[in-house]
Protein backbone atom coordinates (compact mmCIF):
# COMPACT_ATOMS: atom_id res chain seq x y z
CA UNK A 1 0.00 0.00 0.00
CA UNK A 2 2.73 2.29 1.08
CA UNK A 3 4.67 1.42 -2.06
CA UNK A 4 1.61 2.27 -4.19
CA UNK A 5 1.28 5.70 -2.56
CA UNK A 6 4.95 6.51 -3.10
CA UNK A 7 4.66 5.45 -6.74
CA UNK A 8 1.59 7.66 -7.18
CA UNK A 9 3.30 10.71 -5.68
CA UNK A 10 6.33 10.11 -7.86
CA UNK A 11 4.22 9.90 -10.97
CA UNK A 12 2.33 13.10 -10.05
CA UNK A 13 5.61 14.98 -9.55
CA UNK A 14 7.07 13.68 -12.74
CA UNK A 15 4.07 14.73 -14.84
CA UNK A 16 4.10 18.15 -13.17
CA UNK A 17 1.46 20.82 -13.49
CA UNK A 18 0.15 19.46 -16.74
CA UNK A 19 -1.17 16.43 -15.05
CA UNK A 20 -2.62 18.56 -12.22
CA UNK A 21 -4.41 20.80 -14.74
CA UNK A 22 -5.85 17.77 -16.43
CA UNK A 23 -6.98 16.44 -13.11
CA UNK A 24 -8.51 19.81 -12.10
CA UNK A 25 -10.35 20.09 -15.38
CA UNK A 26 -11.85 16.78 -14.74
CA UNK A 27 -12.87 18.01 -11.24
CA UNK A 28 -11.28 15.24 -9.38
CA UNK A 29 -8.81 17.54 -7.55
CA UNK A 30 -9.20 21.10 -6.33
CA UNK A 31 -5.56 21.90 -5.76
CA UNK A 32 -4.37 25.51 -6.33
CA UNK A 33 -2.23 26.07 -9.46
CA UNK A 34 1.54 26.16 -8.92
CA UNK A 35 1.97 29.29 -11.00
CA UNK A 36 -0.92 31.52 -11.83
CA UNK A 37 0.77 32.87 -14.93
CA UNK A 38 1.39 29.43 -16.24
CA UNK A 39 -1.84 29.30 -18.16
CA UNK A 40 -1.58 32.84 -19.48
CA UNK A 41 -0.99 32.99 -23.24
CA UNK A 42 2.62 34.17 -24.12
CA UNK A 43 2.79 37.71 -25.48
CA UNK A 44 5.25 39.19 -27.98
CA UNK A 45 7.17 37.56 -30.75
CA UNK A 46 7.35 33.86 -31.00
CA UNK A 47 10.89 32.64 -30.13
CA UNK A 48 12.94 31.44 -33.04
CA UNK A 49 13.49 27.75 -33.31
CA UNK A 50 16.90 26.46 -32.08
CA UNK A 51 19.50 26.79 -34.75
CA UNK A 52 22.93 25.12 -34.87
CA UNK A 53 25.75 27.62 -34.24
CA UNK A 54 27.38 28.55 -37.50
CA UNK A 55 29.17 31.68 -36.36
CA UNK A 56 32.80 31.67 -37.47
CA UNK A 57 33.83 33.04 -34.11
CA UNK A 58 32.15 30.25 -32.20
CA UNK A 59 33.15 26.96 -33.70
CA UNK A 60 31.73 23.76 -32.36
CA UNK A 61 34.50 21.62 -31.06
CA UNK A 62 34.90 18.23 -32.60
CA UNK A 63 34.79 15.32 -30.17
CA UNK A 64 38.21 14.06 -31.14
CA UNK A 65 39.84 17.47 -30.79
CA UNK A 66 42.06 17.68 -27.69
CA UNK A 67 41.77 20.44 -25.15
CA UNK A 68 45.07 22.41 -25.18
CA UNK A 69 46.82 21.67 -21.93
CA UNK A 70 47.89 24.56 -19.77
CA UNK A 71 51.52 23.55 -19.94
CA UNK A 72 51.64 23.18 -23.71
CA UNK A 73 50.21 26.67 -23.95
CA UNK A 74 53.14 27.86 -21.81
CA UNK A 75 55.71 26.33 -24.21
CA UNK A 76 54.06 27.87 -27.23
CA UNK A 77 54.44 31.33 -25.78
CA UNK A 78 57.68 31.74 -27.79
CA UNK A 79 60.98 33.19 -26.56
CA UNK A 80 60.84 35.04 -23.27
CA UNK A 81 62.39 38.39 -22.43
CA UNK A 82 65.53 36.72 -21.05
CA UNK A 83 65.96 34.66 -24.25
CA UNK A 84 65.87 37.84 -26.30
CA UNK A 85 68.17 39.68 -23.88
CA UNK A 86 70.62 36.76 -23.84
CA UNK A 87 70.61 36.61 -27.63
CA UNK A 88 71.21 40.35 -27.91
CA UNK A 89 73.95 40.56 -25.29
CA UNK A 90 75.80 37.29 -25.85
CA UNK A 91 75.27 36.33 -29.47
CA UNK A 92 75.10 39.79 -30.98
CA UNK A 93 77.15 42.14 -28.79
CA UNK A 94 79.88 39.91 -27.28
CA UNK A 95 80.36 37.70 -30.34
CA UNK A 96 80.66 40.74 -32.58
CA UNK A 97 83.05 42.39 -30.11
CA UNK A 98 85.18 39.21 -30.11
CA UNK A 99 85.26 39.27 -33.92
CA UNK A 100 86.23 42.95 -34.00
CA UNK A 101 89.00 42.50 -31.38
CA UNK A 102 91.89 41.63 -33.77
CA UNK A 103 91.12 44.74 -35.82
CA UNK A 104 91.28 47.00 -32.76
CA UNK A 105 94.94 46.21 -32.07
CA UNK A 106 95.72 46.04 -35.78
CA UNK A 107 98.73 43.76 -35.31
CA UNK A 108 99.74 40.76 -37.38
CA UNK A 109 98.98 37.44 -35.70
CA UNK A 110 100.82 34.18 -35.92
CA UNK A 111 98.58 31.47 -37.33
CA UNK A 112 99.63 28.06 -36.01
CA UNK A 113 97.71 26.24 -38.74
CA UNK A 114 99.32 28.01 -41.70
CA UNK A 115 102.55 28.87 -39.83
CA UNK A 116 102.33 32.40 -41.28
CA UNK A 117 101.94 35.89 -39.86
CA UNK A 118 98.56 37.19 -40.90
CA UNK A 119 97.30 40.74 -40.85
CA UNK A 120 93.89 41.38 -39.30
CA UNK A 121 91.07 41.27 -41.83
CA UNK A 122 87.31 41.59 -41.96
CA UNK A 123 86.68 37.83 -42.41
CA UNK A 124 85.91 37.25 -38.74
CA UNK A 125 83.50 40.18 -38.54
CA UNK A 126 81.77 39.11 -41.76
CA UNK A 127 81.44 35.52 -40.58
CA UNK A 128 79.97 36.65 -37.26
CA UNK A 129 77.50 39.11 -38.73
CA UNK A 130 76.44 37.02 -41.72
CA UNK A 131 76.57 33.51 -40.29
CA UNK A 132 76.93 33.33 -36.52
CA UNK A 133 74.38 35.96 -35.50
CA UNK A 134 71.64 34.80 -37.93
CA UNK A 135 72.33 31.22 -36.88
CA UNK A 136 71.93 32.14 -33.21
CA UNK A 137 68.79 34.10 -34.05
CA UNK A 138 67.22 31.04 -35.64
CA UNK A 139 68.51 28.67 -32.99
CA UNK A 140 67.51 30.68 -29.95
CA UNK A 141 64.40 32.53 -31.01
CA UNK A 142 62.80 30.62 -33.86
CA UNK A 143 63.33 26.87 -33.80
CA UNK A 144 61.90 24.75 -30.97
CA UNK A 145 64.03 22.31 -29.00
CA UNK A 146 64.07 18.92 -30.71
CA UNK A 147 63.20 20.34 -34.14
CA UNK A 148 65.39 19.44 -37.10
CA UNK A 149 66.40 23.07 -37.54
CA UNK A 150 67.53 23.45 -33.94
CA UNK A 151 69.37 20.10 -34.00
CA UNK A 152 71.20 21.13 -37.18
CA UNK A 153 72.15 24.54 -35.73
CA UNK A 154 73.33 23.06 -32.43
CA UNK A 155 75.37 20.43 -34.28
CA UNK A 156 77.07 23.19 -36.26
CA UNK A 157 77.62 25.27 -33.13
CA UNK A 158 78.96 22.22 -31.28
CA UNK A 159 81.37 21.45 -34.12
CA UNK A 160 82.70 25.03 -33.93
CA UNK A 161 83.05 24.84 -30.15
CA UNK A 162 84.96 21.55 -30.46
CA UNK A 163 87.20 23.04 -33.12
CA UNK A 164 87.88 26.07 -30.89
CA UNK A 165 88.87 23.83 -27.98
CA UNK A 166 91.05 21.69 -30.27
CA UNK A 167 92.76 24.77 -31.70
CA UNK A 168 93.39 26.05 -28.18
CA UNK A 169 95.04 22.73 -27.34
CA UNK A 170 97.13 22.92 -30.53
CA UNK A 171 98.16 26.49 -29.64
CA UNK A 172 99.24 25.34 -26.18
CA UNK A 173 101.27 22.50 -27.71
CA UNK A 174 102.94 24.88 -30.19
CA UNK A 175 103.62 27.37 -27.40
CA UNK A 176 105.36 24.69 -25.32
CA UNK A 177 107.42 23.65 -28.34
CA UNK A 178 108.45 27.25 -29.02
CA UNK A 179 109.32 27.81 -25.37
CA UNK A 180 111.51 24.69 -25.34
CA UNK A 181 113.19 25.94 -28.49
CA UNK A 182 113.72 29.38 -26.95
CA UNK A 183 115.54 27.88 -23.99
CA UNK A 184 117.71 25.56 -26.06
CA UNK A 185 121.05 25.92 -27.79
CA UNK A 186 119.74 24.41 -31.01
CA UNK A 187 119.03 27.82 -32.48
CA UNK A 188 120.93 31.09 -32.46
CA UNK A 189 119.94 34.13 -30.40
CA UNK A 190 119.43 35.86 -33.74
CA UNK A 191 116.78 33.25 -34.60
CA UNK A 192 115.25 33.22 -31.13
CA UNK A 193 113.85 36.68 -31.62
CA UNK A 194 111.35 35.29 -34.13
CA UNK A 195 110.47 32.50 -31.71
CA UNK A 196 109.99 35.01 -28.91
CA UNK A 197 107.74 37.11 -31.13
CA UNK A 198 105.60 34.06 -31.87
CA UNK A 199 105.47 33.14 -28.17
CA UNK A 200 104.39 36.67 -27.28
CA UNK A 201 101.67 36.65 -29.90
CA UNK A 202 100.26 33.22 -29.00
CA UNK A 203 100.42 33.81 -25.26
CA UNK A 204 98.77 37.21 -25.13
CA UNK A 205 95.12 37.55 -24.22
CA UNK A 206 94.36 41.24 -24.74
CA UNK A 207 92.44 43.28 -22.18
CA UNK A 208 89.62 43.65 -24.68
CA UNK A 209 89.43 39.88 -25.24
CA UNK A 210 89.42 39.36 -21.47
CA UNK A 211 86.59 41.89 -21.16
CA UNK A 212 84.59 40.06 -23.83
CA UNK A 213 85.30 36.78 -22.05
CA UNK A 214 84.11 38.14 -18.70
CA UNK A 215 80.92 39.52 -20.31
CA UNK A 216 80.21 36.14 -21.90
CA UNK A 217 80.97 34.37 -18.63
CA UNK A 218 78.59 36.66 -16.75
CA UNK A 219 75.70 36.16 -19.18
CA UNK A 220 76.19 32.37 -19.16
CA UNK A 221 76.34 32.38 -15.36
CA UNK A 222 73.03 34.28 -15.13
CA UNK A 223 71.48 31.90 -17.67
CA UNK A 224 72.72 28.85 -15.79
CA UNK A 225 71.43 30.23 -12.50
CA UNK A 226 68.06 31.08 -14.03
CA UNK A 227 67.67 27.58 -15.51
CA UNK A 228 68.59 25.88 -12.23
CA UNK A 229 66.14 28.07 -10.26
CA UNK A 230 63.40 27.39 -12.83
CA UNK A 231 64.15 23.67 -12.58
CA UNK A 232 63.63 23.87 -8.84
CA UNK A 233 60.26 25.56 -9.37
CA UNK A 234 59.16 23.29 -12.26
CA UNK A 235 55.70 21.60 -12.14
CA UNK A 236 56.93 18.14 -13.09
CA UNK A 237 60.15 16.21 -13.08
CA UNK A 238 60.39 16.05 -16.89
CA UNK A 239 60.34 19.83 -17.11
CA UNK A 240 62.82 20.04 -14.24
CA UNK A 241 65.27 17.66 -15.97
CA UNK A 242 65.02 19.67 -19.17
CA UNK A 243 65.83 22.89 -17.32
CA UNK A 244 68.68 21.24 -15.42
CA UNK A 245 70.12 20.07 -18.76
CA UNK A 246 69.86 23.63 -20.08
CA UNK A 247 71.55 24.91 -16.91
CA UNK A 248 74.39 22.43 -17.45
CA UNK A 249 74.70 23.66 -21.05
CA UNK A 250 75.00 27.26 -19.81
CA UNK A 251 77.57 26.14 -17.22
CA UNK A 252 79.50 24.63 -20.13
CA UNK A 253 79.37 27.96 -21.96
CA UNK A 254 80.57 29.62 -18.75
CA UNK A 255 83.60 27.30 -18.64
CA UNK A 256 84.31 27.96 -22.32
CA UNK A 257 84.35 31.71 -21.62
CA UNK A 258 86.65 31.08 -18.64
CA UNK A 259 88.96 29.12 -20.95
CA UNK A 260 89.04 32.05 -23.38
CA UNK A 261 90.07 34.39 -20.54
CA UNK A 262 92.90 32.08 -19.41
CA UNK A 263 94.19 31.71 -22.98
CA UNK A 264 96.38 28.85 -24.20
CA UNK A 265 97.33 27.48 -20.78
CA UNK A 266 96.73 24.04 -19.27
CA UNK A 267 93.78 25.21 -17.13
CA UNK A 268 92.43 27.26 -20.07
CA UNK A 269 92.37 24.26 -22.40
CA UNK A 270 90.89 22.06 -19.64
CA UNK A 271 88.06 24.55 -19.07
CA UNK A 272 87.31 24.81 -22.79
CA UNK A 273 87.27 21.03 -23.28
CA UNK A 274 85.11 20.42 -20.19
CA UNK A 275 82.78 23.26 -21.14
CA UNK A 276 82.34 21.88 -24.66
CA UNK A 277 81.56 18.40 -23.29
CA UNK A 278 78.98 19.77 -20.85
CA UNK A 279 77.38 21.87 -23.59
CA UNK A 280 77.26 18.88 -25.98
CA UNK A 281 75.75 16.64 -23.27
CA UNK A 282 73.10 19.24 -22.56
CA UNK A 283 72.26 19.63 -26.26
CA UNK A 284 71.96 15.85 -26.69
CA UNK A 285 69.56 15.61 -23.73
CA UNK A 286 67.46 18.57 -24.89
CA UNK A 287 67.07 17.17 -28.41
CA UNK A 288 66.86 13.50 -27.46
CA UNK A 289 63.26 13.08 -28.69
CA UNK A 290 63.98 14.74 -32.02
CA UNK A 291 67.16 12.70 -32.42
CA UNK A 292 65.28 9.45 -31.62
CA UNK A 293 62.62 10.29 -34.22
CA UNK A 294 65.27 11.10 -36.77
CA UNK A 295 67.15 7.86 -36.10
CA UNK A 296 63.90 5.86 -36.32
CA UNK A 297 63.01 7.51 -39.60
CA UNK A 298 66.44 6.80 -40.96
CA UNK A 299 66.27 3.14 -39.90
CA UNK A 300 62.80 2.78 -41.40
CA UNK A 301 63.99 4.41 -44.59
CA UNK A 302 66.87 1.96 -44.83
CA UNK A 303 64.53 -0.94 -44.05
CA UNK A 304 62.00 0.02 -46.71
CA UNK A 305 64.74 0.60 -49.25
CA UNK A 306 66.16 -2.85 -48.37
CA UNK A 307 62.73 -4.43 -48.73
CA UNK A 308 62.11 -2.74 -52.04
CA UNK A 309 65.41 -3.90 -53.45
CA UNK A 310 65.70 -7.38 -51.95
CA UNK A 311 62.24 -8.08 -50.53
Amino acid sequence: MMGFLIALVSISISFGPGFVVFAEGEGSFNAPPINEDFYQPKEGEKPKPHQPINDTNTQIQAKDQKQPAKQEKKEDDGPGIWDVLKFMSKDVVTDTAAAIEPNIYNEARYDIITGQWENPNANGVLYTSLVKVPRSLLGNLYFQDGSIGKIAIDTWDGAEKTLDAWNKYKTLRELNRLQRMNESTTISIFQKTQIQKKIGCLKTVTKFAKGVGFASLGISAIDAGKNFVDAFKADNSQEAYKLIAKGIGSTGEMLIAGGQILGPTGPGVFLMATGTLLWAGSALYTHREGIKKGVKKAINGVKSAWNKIFG
Binding site: L178, E183, S184, T186, I187, F190, Q191
Partner: protein, 275 residues
Protein backbone atom coordinates in the same frame (compact mmCIF):
# COMPACT_ATOMS: atom_id res chain seq x y z
CA UNK B 1 112.53 43.49 -24.82
CA UNK B 2 111.77 42.92 -28.47
CA UNK B 3 115.09 41.94 -30.02
CA UNK B 4 113.48 41.52 -33.43
CA UNK B 5 113.02 45.28 -33.58
CA UNK B 6 116.74 45.80 -32.99
CA UNK B 7 117.72 44.00 -36.14
CA UNK B 8 119.19 46.13 -38.90
CA UNK B 9 118.70 43.39 -41.50
CA UNK B 10 116.61 40.24 -41.32
CA UNK B 11 118.27 36.83 -40.93
CA UNK B 12 119.85 35.83 -44.24
CA UNK B 13 118.87 32.53 -45.80
CA UNK B 14 121.81 30.07 -45.72
CA UNK B 15 123.16 28.93 -49.13
CA UNK B 16 121.71 25.77 -50.68
CA UNK B 17 125.15 24.15 -50.70
CA UNK B 18 125.44 24.44 -46.92
CA UNK B 19 121.90 23.11 -46.45
CA UNK B 20 122.64 20.17 -48.73
CA UNK B 21 125.78 19.25 -46.78
CA UNK B 22 123.94 19.68 -43.46
CA UNK B 23 121.18 17.35 -44.69
CA UNK B 24 123.72 14.64 -45.44
CA UNK B 25 124.76 14.66 -41.74
CA UNK B 26 121.24 14.37 -40.37
CA UNK B 27 120.60 11.17 -38.40
CA UNK B 28 117.25 9.39 -38.25
CA UNK B 29 114.58 11.47 -36.52
CA UNK B 30 116.72 14.59 -36.42
CA UNK B 31 116.23 18.09 -37.78
CA UNK B 32 118.99 20.54 -38.63
CA UNK B 33 119.33 24.28 -38.25
CA UNK B 34 121.89 26.50 -39.96
CA UNK B 35 122.74 29.54 -37.84
CA UNK B 36 122.15 32.75 -39.82
CA UNK B 37 125.57 34.31 -39.28
CA UNK B 38 128.96 33.30 -40.67
CA UNK B 39 131.91 32.98 -38.32
CA UNK B 40 135.27 34.39 -39.40
CA UNK B 41 138.13 32.53 -37.81
CA UNK B 42 141.73 32.78 -39.07
CA UNK B 43 140.50 34.62 -42.19
CA UNK B 44 138.19 31.71 -43.10
CA UNK B 45 134.40 31.86 -43.09
CA UNK B 46 132.32 29.05 -41.56
CA UNK B 47 128.71 28.10 -41.06
CA UNK B 48 127.50 26.55 -37.81
CA UNK B 49 124.85 23.80 -38.00
CA UNK B 50 122.97 22.19 -35.09
CA UNK B 51 121.17 18.83 -35.14
CA UNK B 52 118.33 17.91 -32.81
CA UNK B 53 115.56 15.32 -32.56
CA UNK B 54 113.53 17.64 -30.30
CA UNK B 55 113.69 21.40 -30.04
CA UNK B 56 115.32 21.36 -26.63
CA UNK B 57 117.79 18.51 -27.16
CA UNK B 58 120.96 19.27 -29.07
CA UNK B 59 122.55 16.08 -30.40
CA UNK B 60 125.08 17.24 -32.95
CA UNK B 61 127.13 20.15 -34.30
CA UNK B 62 128.70 20.53 -37.71
CA UNK B 63 130.93 23.38 -38.83
CA UNK B 64 131.07 23.81 -42.60
CA UNK B 65 133.47 25.99 -44.51
CA UNK B 66 131.83 28.62 -46.71
CA UNK B 67 133.09 26.75 -49.81
CA UNK B 68 131.43 23.52 -48.67
CA UNK B 69 134.47 21.78 -47.20
CA UNK B 70 134.21 20.11 -43.83
CA UNK B 71 137.26 21.06 -41.77
CA UNK B 72 138.85 18.77 -39.18
CA UNK B 73 137.48 18.92 -35.69
CA UNK B 74 140.69 20.19 -34.07
CA UNK B 75 140.71 23.25 -36.35
CA UNK B 76 137.26 24.47 -35.58
CA UNK B 77 137.03 24.39 -31.75
CA UNK B 78 137.58 28.14 -31.79
CA UNK B 79 134.58 28.58 -34.09
CA UNK B 80 132.45 26.60 -31.63
CA UNK B 81 133.71 28.78 -28.77
CA UNK B 82 132.76 31.97 -30.58
CA UNK B 83 129.25 30.80 -31.39
CA UNK B 84 128.47 29.13 -28.07
CA UNK B 85 129.94 31.96 -25.99
CA UNK B 86 128.31 34.80 -27.91
CA UNK B 87 124.92 33.10 -27.81
CA UNK B 88 125.07 32.21 -24.11
CA UNK B 89 126.48 35.54 -22.98
CA UNK B 90 124.10 37.64 -25.06
CA UNK B 91 121.20 35.69 -23.66
CA UNK B 92 122.54 36.10 -20.14
CA UNK B 93 122.72 39.87 -20.57
CA UNK B 94 119.31 40.17 -22.19
CA UNK B 95 117.51 37.93 -19.72
CA UNK B 96 119.27 38.20 -16.34
CA UNK B 97 121.13 41.47 -16.82
CA UNK B 98 118.05 43.21 -18.09
CA UNK B 99 115.92 41.97 -15.18
CA UNK B 100 118.64 42.81 -12.67
CA UNK B 101 119.02 46.34 -14.02
CA UNK B 102 115.31 46.96 -13.59
CA UNK B 103 115.21 46.09 -9.90
CA UNK B 104 113.49 48.83 -7.86
CA UNK B 105 115.88 51.14 -6.02
CA UNK B 106 113.38 52.48 -3.48
CA UNK B 107 114.78 50.46 -0.59
CA UNK B 108 118.29 51.86 -1.18
CA UNK B 109 116.97 55.40 -1.39
CA UNK B 110 115.24 54.92 1.96
CA UNK B 111 118.45 53.44 3.41
CA UNK B 112 120.47 56.40 2.17
CA UNK B 113 117.99 58.87 3.61
CA UNK B 114 118.08 57.05 6.98
CA UNK B 115 121.86 57.18 7.06
CA UNK B 116 121.81 60.89 6.16
CA UNK B 117 119.70 61.60 9.24
CA UNK B 118 122.65 60.38 11.39
CA UNK B 119 125.27 62.39 9.47
CA UNK B 120 125.50 65.29 11.94
CA UNK B 121 125.60 63.01 14.95
CA UNK B 122 128.41 60.87 13.47
CA UNK B 123 130.50 63.83 12.30
CA UNK B 124 130.17 65.57 15.63
CA UNK B 125 131.58 62.48 17.34
CA UNK B 126 135.28 61.95 18.00
CA UNK B 127 134.97 58.22 17.53
CA UNK B 128 136.95 57.40 14.38
CA UNK B 129 135.61 53.82 14.22
CA UNK B 130 132.09 55.19 14.22
CA UNK B 131 132.95 57.47 11.30
CA UNK B 132 134.61 54.61 9.43
CA UNK B 133 131.64 52.32 10.03
CA UNK B 134 129.32 55.08 8.87
CA UNK B 135 131.25 55.47 5.61
CA UNK B 136 131.09 51.73 4.98
CA UNK B 137 127.36 51.73 5.62
CA UNK B 138 126.89 54.77 3.38
CA UNK B 139 128.84 53.09 0.58
CA UNK B 140 126.19 50.35 0.25
CA UNK B 141 123.39 52.39 -1.34
CA UNK B 142 125.97 54.42 -3.25
CA UNK B 143 127.47 51.31 -4.85
CA UNK B 144 124.00 49.99 -5.55
CA UNK B 145 123.10 53.12 -7.50
CA UNK B 146 126.39 53.14 -9.40
CA UNK B 147 126.29 49.48 -10.39
CA UNK B 148 122.65 49.71 -11.29
CA UNK B 149 123.48 52.47 -13.75
CA UNK B 150 126.36 50.38 -15.07
CA UNK B 151 124.02 47.41 -15.58
CA UNK B 152 121.65 49.57 -17.57
CA UNK B 153 124.54 50.75 -19.72
CA UNK B 154 125.69 47.15 -20.22
CA UNK B 155 122.25 46.10 -21.46
CA UNK B 156 122.26 49.05 -23.86
CA UNK B 157 125.75 48.10 -25.06
CA UNK B 158 124.61 44.53 -25.64
CA UNK B 159 121.74 45.88 -27.74
CA UNK B 160 124.26 47.81 -29.82
CA UNK B 161 126.34 44.65 -30.26
CA UNK B 162 123.22 42.78 -31.30
CA UNK B 163 122.46 45.46 -33.88
CA UNK B 164 126.06 45.38 -35.06
CA UNK B 165 125.98 41.71 -35.94
CA UNK B 166 122.70 42.02 -37.79
CA UNK B 167 124.18 44.50 -40.26
CA UNK B 168 126.39 41.93 -42.04
CA UNK B 169 125.87 38.71 -40.03
CA UNK B 170 129.60 38.20 -39.67
CA UNK B 171 130.95 37.05 -36.33
CA UNK B 172 134.62 37.90 -35.87
CA UNK B 173 137.11 37.34 -33.08
CA UNK B 174 136.85 41.05 -32.20
CA UNK B 175 133.09 40.76 -31.95
CA UNK B 176 133.40 37.70 -29.72
CA UNK B 177 135.84 39.59 -27.45
CA UNK B 178 133.55 42.62 -27.22
CA UNK B 179 130.62 40.45 -26.17
CA UNK B 180 132.80 38.55 -23.70
CA UNK B 181 134.09 41.79 -22.18
CA UNK B 182 130.59 43.23 -21.85
CA UNK B 183 129.40 40.06 -20.19
CA UNK B 184 132.32 40.08 -17.77
CA UNK B 185 131.56 43.70 -16.93
CA UNK B 186 128.00 42.71 -16.10
CA UNK B 187 129.13 39.85 -13.90
CA UNK B 188 131.51 42.15 -12.04
CA UNK B 189 128.82 44.72 -11.45
CA UNK B 190 126.57 42.01 -10.05
CA UNK B 191 129.43 40.78 -7.89
CA UNK B 192 129.92 44.28 -6.48
CA UNK B 193 126.28 44.41 -5.47
CA UNK B 194 126.56 41.07 -3.71
CA UNK B 195 129.88 42.00 -2.16
CA UNK B 196 128.79 45.28 -0.67
CA UNK B 197 125.88 43.61 1.06
CA UNK B 198 127.52 40.43 2.28
CA UNK B 199 131.00 41.59 3.15
CA UNK B 200 129.98 44.63 5.18
CA UNK B 201 127.94 42.74 7.74
CA UNK B 202 130.54 42.97 10.54
CA UNK B 203 131.23 46.68 10.04
CA UNK B 204 127.54 47.46 9.98
CA UNK B 205 126.96 45.55 13.18
CA UNK B 206 129.79 47.34 14.97
CA UNK B 207 128.66 50.71 13.64
CA UNK B 208 125.17 50.19 14.97
CA UNK B 209 126.53 49.26 18.41
CA UNK B 210 128.61 52.42 18.54
CA UNK B 211 125.78 54.55 17.17
CA UNK B 212 123.44 53.31 19.90
CA UNK B 213 125.84 54.61 22.53
CA UNK B 214 125.99 58.08 20.98
CA UNK B 215 122.23 58.64 20.81
CA UNK B 216 120.85 60.60 23.74
CA UNK B 217 118.16 58.77 25.75
CA UNK B 218 115.83 61.76 25.44
CA UNK B 219 116.09 61.94 21.66
CA UNK B 220 113.07 59.83 20.80
CA UNK B 221 113.14 60.73 17.10
CA UNK B 222 116.71 59.48 16.74
CA UNK B 223 115.82 56.27 18.55
CA UNK B 224 112.97 55.73 16.17
CA UNK B 225 115.32 56.29 13.20
CA UNK B 226 117.88 53.98 14.78
CA UNK B 227 115.30 51.20 14.98
CA UNK B 228 114.52 51.68 11.30
CA UNK B 229 118.23 51.54 10.45
CA UNK B 230 118.55 48.36 12.50
CA UNK B 231 115.70 46.87 10.51
CA UNK B 232 117.45 47.87 7.26
CA UNK B 233 120.68 46.28 8.51
CA UNK B 234 118.88 43.02 9.27
CA UNK B 235 117.27 43.05 5.84
CA UNK B 236 120.73 43.39 4.27
CA UNK B 237 122.09 40.37 6.12
CA UNK B 238 122.21 37.36 3.80
CA UNK B 239 121.29 33.83 4.84
CA UNK B 240 123.79 30.97 4.60
CA UNK B 241 122.48 29.79 1.19
CA UNK B 242 122.98 33.25 -0.33
CA UNK B 243 126.45 33.46 1.22
CA UNK B 244 127.40 30.09 -0.31
CA UNK B 245 126.05 31.20 -3.66
CA UNK B 246 128.08 34.39 -3.40
CA UNK B 247 131.28 32.45 -2.68
CA UNK B 248 130.75 30.35 -5.83
CA UNK B 249 129.99 33.41 -7.86
CA UNK B 250 133.05 35.26 -6.53
CA UNK B 251 135.33 32.33 -7.36
CA UNK B 252 134.15 32.16 -10.98
CA UNK B 253 133.01 35.58 -12.12
CA UNK B 254 133.87 34.90 -15.75
CA UNK B 255 131.86 31.63 -15.55
CA UNK B 256 134.70 29.71 -17.21
CA UNK B 257 134.63 26.88 -14.67
CA UNK B 258 130.84 26.73 -14.67
CA UNK B 259 130.66 26.42 -18.44
CA UNK B 260 133.59 24.02 -18.82
CA UNK B 261 131.38 20.92 -18.58
CA UNK B 262 128.97 22.30 -21.16
CA UNK B 263 131.89 23.15 -23.45
CA UNK B 264 133.19 19.58 -23.22
CA UNK B 265 129.74 18.21 -24.06
CA UNK B 266 129.50 20.51 -27.09
CA UNK B 267 132.93 19.49 -28.33
CA UNK B 268 131.89 15.82 -28.05
CA UNK B 269 128.87 16.59 -30.24
CA UNK B 270 130.93 17.94 -33.16
CA UNK B 271 130.41 15.77 -36.24
CA UNK B 272 133.38 17.11 -38.19
CA UNK B 273 136.00 14.41 -38.93
CA UNK B 274 138.70 13.98 -36.29
CA UNK B 275 141.46 14.16 -38.87
Amino acid sequence: MNLEELKINPNPEPPELIKKIARSFVKKGETYNVFPHKIICNYEKYYYVSFYPKEDKLTGILIIHENGNIPHKKNIIEVLDYVATVDAEMENIFIYGSKWSQRPMEIWKKGQSLLKSFSELVHASDDEDLKKGYEVFCSIPQIMFETQDQLKEIVEKAKDLYRELTTDYLMTKEYFEKVDKTHLHMMESMKKQFEVQIETEKERKQFLKRLRKTISLSDIRKWFLYLRLLKFHRWLNADSATKAEYQNFKADVSREKATEQTRKKLIAMIRNPRG
